[in-house]
């Protein structure tokens, strides 16, 4: 499997994987064949904690129901482009946590919701 396929397969179990480089102790996303920190190839996958903060966001008004596109900086360091859900008042620097949206075929798409919504 390519790193990309491994990553998507893990979403069937609602696992958000990040590539980790043991040589330079660094996480990266999206998964690829090289460590962008040291140029090494011996990368492993580790499950992300699923916590982060909103770096920025935009409410996209193209569809009938607007959706919130966000850049979430994970606790491990990498930034993900994602959707922010169940978030009536999004703002930059708000803590968020991982949630999942089912996709056709059994895969899931990682999205993020408020870290302190009590759910």
């Amino acid at each position: 499997m390519t790193p990309e396929e491994t990553w998507w397969e893990a979403t069937r179990d609602q696992l958000l994987l990040l590539q980790f480089c043991p040589a330079c102790r660094r996480y990266q996303h999206y998964p690829r064949f090289v460590c962008t920190g040291c140029g090494g190839h011996d990368l492993e996958f580790r499950a992300a904690a699923g916590t982060g903060v909103i770096g920025s966001f935009t409410v996209v008004h193209r569809a009938e129901t607007p959706y919130i596109l966000g850049r979430v900086r994970l606790t491990e360091g990498p930034v993900l482009l994602t959707h922010l859900v169940d978030l009536p008042d999004p703002h930059c620097d708000l803590p968020v946590r991982l949630a999942w949206r089912a996709q056709p075929g059994g895969r899931h798409l990682p999205v993020f919701r408020s870290a302190d919504d009590g759910l």
């Binding site: 998507w8 999206y30 770096g55 935009t58 193209r62 596109l69 993900l80």
Partner: protein, 364 residues
């Protein structure tokens, strides 16, 4: 470096109903007429946006067999990169007369799509497309959101950029918005929302248009009709294609590109008289002026350096890749009676993906 821009021109702008090659031909032949150089003397071509073999295609259409060409693609910044490559090629003796050109009929052809293009097989297609970002608008929108948040500003503050661009375009008869009257902050805020905080009037125009510039050696330029506009320095920076790659949305490649150009020219921001920077969206202007050294971080909306004098992509013309028209306007400013002796041109491509700065000057 001993290369100068000796000709510059626009093709027809706006909604032309013309083909790309007709507009390209207008741009090239008008710029050559401006330079006083016959078509047959062109031995270098840099262009894109025509076909897969853009420079070769244009050479075929114009009946030329150039000894140097460049069809690099890096979005709207590439024309500033072409200036660097052309200067090197002329200095190296690979060619003598280069035309850099671009034209698009995107408004007439209705070829622009709000969501943009997703290229299969890229990491963006796999990891970003499922979230349906508008490309490129949503990236600039997230940058604007972060900018307003960081500096405690509002959409109304950003709207002032569109208002100022419209005002400048009222002095430029070639501008798409010429004669349409002034814009108010309330107009900008009331425009349809696209991707918060950017509404329709925070976005550049969608028009046909293009232009061309002609370069040759500074030694030859002295014998040509126009005041030679010398290439004093250039610099580039590529930073990302993905919307999640840049660690900090407010730190673009513009600073690195400009630093390289300033270093080569042995000049600094205080030495520049006029700036042409790629105003794809309102946020691009304050953030760009700050990165280029014309304002402190967070103070770009109050920068006093004259910029985007023709109205820019927001109010004059935006044919998809605006970089060539930034060069045309810089040449006009340096030849004109504004008294400007130095100009900085900064092109940006994609989602702040590619950056290229050119510093130009005239002897007055």
């Amino acid at each position: 470096m001993s290369v100068a821009i000796v000709g510059a021109a626009e093709c027809d702008l706006g909604q032309t109903g013309k083909s790309v090659l007709e507009l390209q031909t207008q741009a090239v032949t008008r710029a050559l007429a401006d330079a006083g150089i016959p078509l047959s003397e062109v031995d270098g071509i840099a262009t894109n946006g025509i076909s897969r073999f853009s420079a070769t295609q244009l050479a075929d259409y114009l009946g030329l067999q150039p000894s140097w060409s460049d069809s690099s693609f890096a979005g709207g910044a590439v024309f500033e990169m072409y200036v660097a490559r052309a200067a090197q090629a002329i200095d190296a003796g690979q060619c003598r007369t280069v035309v850099i050109s671009f034209a698009s009929n995107q408004r007439s052809a209705r070829s622009r799509k709000l969501a943009g293009v997703v290229e299969e097989g890229t990491p963006e297609a796999a990891f970003e497309a499922p979230y349906q970002p508008l490309y490129p608008i949503s990236y600039y929108a997230m940058t604007a959101q972060r900018y307003l948040h960081t500096y405690g500003l509002t959409r109304a503050d950003l709207a002032s950029v569109a208002v100022a661009a419209r005002a400048r375009a009222q002095l430029n008869p070639a501008a798409w918005t010429y004669g349409k009257g002034p814009l108010t902050v309330d107009d900008v805020l009331a425009a349809p929302m696209i991707s918060t905080p950017l509404g329709a009037l925070d976005c550049c125009l969608v028009t046909d248009g293009g232009g061309a510039i002609v370069l040759t050696s500074a030694a030859r330029a002295r014998h040509l009709p126009q005041t030679p506009v010398k290439v004093l320095g250039y610099g580039e920076a590529l930073t990302h294609t993905g919307m999640a790659t840049a660690p900090d949305l407010l730190h673009t490649g513009a600073g690195a590109a400009a630093a390289r150009a300033f270093s080569q020219a042995a000049l600094g921001p205080a030495d520049i008289d006029v700036v042409q920077l790629y105003d794809s969206f309102t946020i691009s202007v304050p953030l760009g002026l700050e990165a280029l050294g014309f304002a402190k971080p967070g103070e770009g909306l109050h920068a006093t350096i004259p910029h985007n004098t023709g109205g820019g992509g927001l109010a004059y013309c935006h044919p998809g890749q605006f970089g060539v028209l930034l060069l045309v306007e810089a040449v006009r400013q340096l030849r004109g009676d504004s008294g400007a002796r130095t100009a900085l041109v900064h092109g940006t491509g994609g989602i702040f993906s590619s950056h290229a700065t050119v510093i130009l000057g005239v002897d007055r």
